[in-house]
């Protein structure tokens, strides 16, 4: 059989451009914003309330408060106790999700379109009238403390929770774990949560994002009905300075005796979401460790078989979040894997990227966008991020051209500026006895033994 025509990959057909849905917004008289986009594949609507109440604004001695506030949104309101709240939504087939980041709390539902009006009344009750009853707060605080205990035994969570302490100077909010510490969570009271809610949950600090099988007029009418008679002053945006724990290189080991793998977190403080290098950085990171075919994954997984997978990422927040290479490698190849990460970092800084790598990364980032916006939930989440980071609502209309404008020189410049292996903190969660000597031979700065998050330092 003649199959020579198979020898080349087929050429793509003419592209049909992805049109990002029109995004519109309105502001209610009380200052609350409504953001709307139509997304008509299924008769459902995602409703996200984005609240400017992230963990960066929690009191410094109450680490974990924002997370507890988010989970205690399930604990009931002045109108409904916790059981009734869950029942009133779930009988409609709707689940309430609450989530917290350093920059926002989100409360969201995705009901069938026919149930939206009823479900939104309950969501509004949660956001406006959360009551934080003492008994339920006590229970949820104990659960959060127990989760801290569990994360001490779970290597991925353990590694993620110590990154902040190894990167940022004490006192910087990002030095804490989002979940808090045993001491800081133990100190949180129901009154702390009520005060946080009074101050930070106000109309001008909240945006309602409605995406799905709904028009703009209905969206604003519903928003007005559920939130229009709510009043309150805007909350101040938290201000803080960010400084590193160490200026130079450092190594941090969390001992897990007998661990068969080492969880590695390698990096340093990155840049804020509003940084002008955002687009060159995401292109650079795609090539470095942001895609399956990235340099790091090809090296550590496909060439060396050290790992099931490795990723790098800049975590963009209002302030400079961490840049991190994350992977889990066999205990016996831990040091070799670290060396390869350092080597690939140097190579990117000194030699830059090829034109082909650059074109592939740009095409990947542009092409993947519609795949990441398939559901009302995905689109609402993306719009919520635009709100949190103060980006314009037509952001995605210009996304393609901004990616396309990134040049090889840009990539090399941002690699030199924002990928600095001589400042890397190398965090190893693994069997210290097996890796300590080899890591020390790398001469990558002082070695620190680190206790898990829940333990006293």
């Amino acid at each position: 059989m003649n199959d020579t025509w198979r020898e080349q990959a087929p050429e793509p057909g003419p592209p049909r451009t992805f049109e990002f849905p029109d995004v519109r917004s309105a502001t209610l008289r009380n200052g609350m914003r409504v953001v709307h986009a139509r997304h008509g594949r299924m008769p459902v609507v995602s409703a996200h309330v984005v609240i400017d109440a992230g963990a960066a604004g929690e009191p410094a001695d109450r680490g974990g408060l924002a997370q507890l506030a988010a989970s205690a949104l399930h604990a009931g309101t002045t109108q409904r106790d916790g059981s009734r709240l869950a029942w009133d939504l779930e009988r409609l087939g709707v689940q309430l999700n609450t989530d917290v980041t350093w920059d926002a709390i989100e409360a969201s539902i995705t009901p069938p379109a026919a149930q939206l009006a009823d479900a939104l009344v309950v969501l509004a009750d949660v956001v406006r009238n959360a009551a934080f009853p003492a008994g339920e707060v006590e229970r949820l605080r104990e659960e959060q403390l127990a989760e801290i205990l569990q994360r001490m035994k779970e290597p991925r969570a353990l590694a993620n929770d110590v990154v902040g302490r190894c990167f940022y100077a004490p006192g910087v909010p990002y030095a804490r774990a989002l979940i808090g510490s045993t001491a800081s969570v133990t100190a949180i009271t129901a009154e702390d949560l009520r005060a946080f809610h009074r101050e930070r949950f106000t109309p001008a600090s909240c945006t309602l994002v409605l995406v799905g099988d709904i028009d703009m007029e209905t969206a604003t009418t519903l928003a007005e009905r559920c939130f229009g008679d709510w009043s309150g002053a805007p909350a101040p945006t938290p201000e803080f300075d960010v400084a590193p724990l160490n200026d130079g290189p450092s190594v941090h080991i969390v001992d897990r005796i007998g661990a068969v793998q080492s969880e590695l977190r390698i990096g340093h403080i990155g840049v804020r979401r509003s940084h002008p290098d955002y687009f060159p950085l995401i292109v650079m990171n795609t090539i470095f460790g942001g895609a399956f075919t990235s340099r790091l994954n090809m090296n550590l997984r496909e060439t060396n078989g050290f790992t099931y997978g490795v990723r790098s990422a800049y975590t963009f927040r209002r302030g400079p979040g961490p840049f991190l290479v994350s992977t889990a490698v066999g205990t016996d190849v831990t040091v070799r894997a670290v060396e390869e990460v350092l080597k690939e970092s140097d190579r990117l800084r000194t030699a830059g990227v090829t034109d082909e790598e650059l074109a592939n990364a740009r095409d990947y980032l542009v092409g993947i966008l519609p795949l990441q916006m398939q559901t009302t939930e995905q689109l609402a989440g993306a719009l919520a991020d635009l709100v949190t980071y103060g980006l314009s609502l037509d952001y995605y209309d210009h996304y393609r051209e901004r990616i396309a404008a990134v040049t090889a020189d840009d990539v090399r410049r941002v690699a030199r500026a924002h990928l600095r292996p001589d400042e890397f903190a190398i965090i190893v969660v693994g069997d210290a006895a097996s890796v300590r000597d080899g890591i020390q031979e790398l001469q990558h700065g002082a070695l620190h033994d680190v206790k898990p998050n829940g333990e006293a330092a």
């Binding site: 059989m1 198979r6 080349q8 990959a9 087929p10 793509p12 057909g13 003419p14 592209p15 049909r16 451009t17 992805f18 008509g40 594949r41 299924m42 008769p43 459902v44 916790g82 869950a86 029942w87 779930e90 009988r91 087939g93 709707v94 689940q95 309430l96 995705t110 069938p112 229970r139 659960e143 127990a146 205990l149 569990q150 001490m152 035994k153 779970e154 068969v260 793998q261 895609a291 399956f292 075919t293 496909e302 060439t303 060396n304 078989g305 099931y308 889990a328 074109a359 592939n360 095409d363 990947y364 092409g367 993947i368 966008l369 519609p370 795949l371 398939q374 559901t375 009302t376 939930e377």
Partner: protein
Amino acid sequence: MIRIPIERYRLDNGMEIVLSREDAAPVVALNIWYGVGSRNERAGRTGFAHLFEHMMFQGSKHVPEMGHFALIEKAGGSLNGSTWLDRTNYFETLPANYLELGLWLESDRLGWLLPAMTQEKLDNQRDVVKNERRWRVDNQPYGDWDERIQALMYPPDHPYHHSVIGSMEDLDAASLEDVEQFFRTYYAPNNAVLTLCGDFDPTQARELIAQYFGQLPRGPDIPPIPGRTRLEPVMGGEVRELVHQDVSLPRVYVTYRIPPFGGAEYYTALVTSYILGYGKAALLYRSLVREQQVAQDVVAYAFPIVVGASMLVTWATARPGRSAADVERAFTEQIERLRDVDDADVQRAVNLLATERLNELQRLDERADQLSMYTQLFDEPERINTEVDRIRAVTPQHVRDFAARYLGTDNRAVLTYVPREVGA
């Protein structure tokens, strides 16, 4: 109700094709289910179906090593594969104008995988998979629960007795000859379903599918699943295992034998799992977590597997200061309450399931995977549209009868993890 469109036909070589068009976005999802999973593995080769799945991404005669990932990422697509008890699937979601690329890649590895296989590639992927096992199982608290539960729930000669990831020893034993034999046995058009979902021209799609897959020869008939595949409807006893592990909190897994995925009673099991464990008004959350505060979390779900019997899986993690025995006692009490479950609890679960289906079917890759699944397992892709009717048909009386028949202590495995004493 929503109706997902379905066109279905079969190639002369036995390959099943399902087309489902929807042009809301210029995106197309390809999905192939092969009727082979860990259930088909022979003794001494546990984990092989999954290791083989990794080899499918190592290039084929006309596709260079890593070409599969490189070409699809360059196109702005996403891709992966996964192996489970009953099947192995491969899928990519692409900008619509790259449909032909996806067909070329999938057909090349089905037609011409073996010329590209080398010992070096096998050894590399063996290392990757061993690290996957360490990552998922060996270096993870409670990480071996499913392996232990399968061993407790299914007799040693049943194909579900062993886990998908397999043992390190068996992974070490896998050879290139195993790769060749497995490929020739199971990777044939007559053991595959190809589904396209999304934005494509149906006439052109049929032509391209004929061009890329039509010339591949039919393979030999697929051998029967090895071992004993029939099981009694209930176990007739309770099996227990106690594990001391480096965990912070005790956790109790309780699993029941239930009828296989597909029949009416399976949907009763599915609804029951939602009554028990899905959402904060669920029976177990309400009682064990909110009221009694004996558990930190609760989970319940049904396994969609088809050989002999499936499982209703539940677990609960003890709150600090509470014992595994406390959790198990409170759990068993709630299971007994199902025998006179309220109508409202059943309606809540049915409504949640119906909403969840609307949400998940927004994704083209999910639609494609389900269409492949219903075709491969039941020869009935239309189930994607009628599944919700099966869920809505479950009545409170069904749940009560189901609980009385299947959720007794004579039909379950109890796997308990407790923290290992330091220095023990």
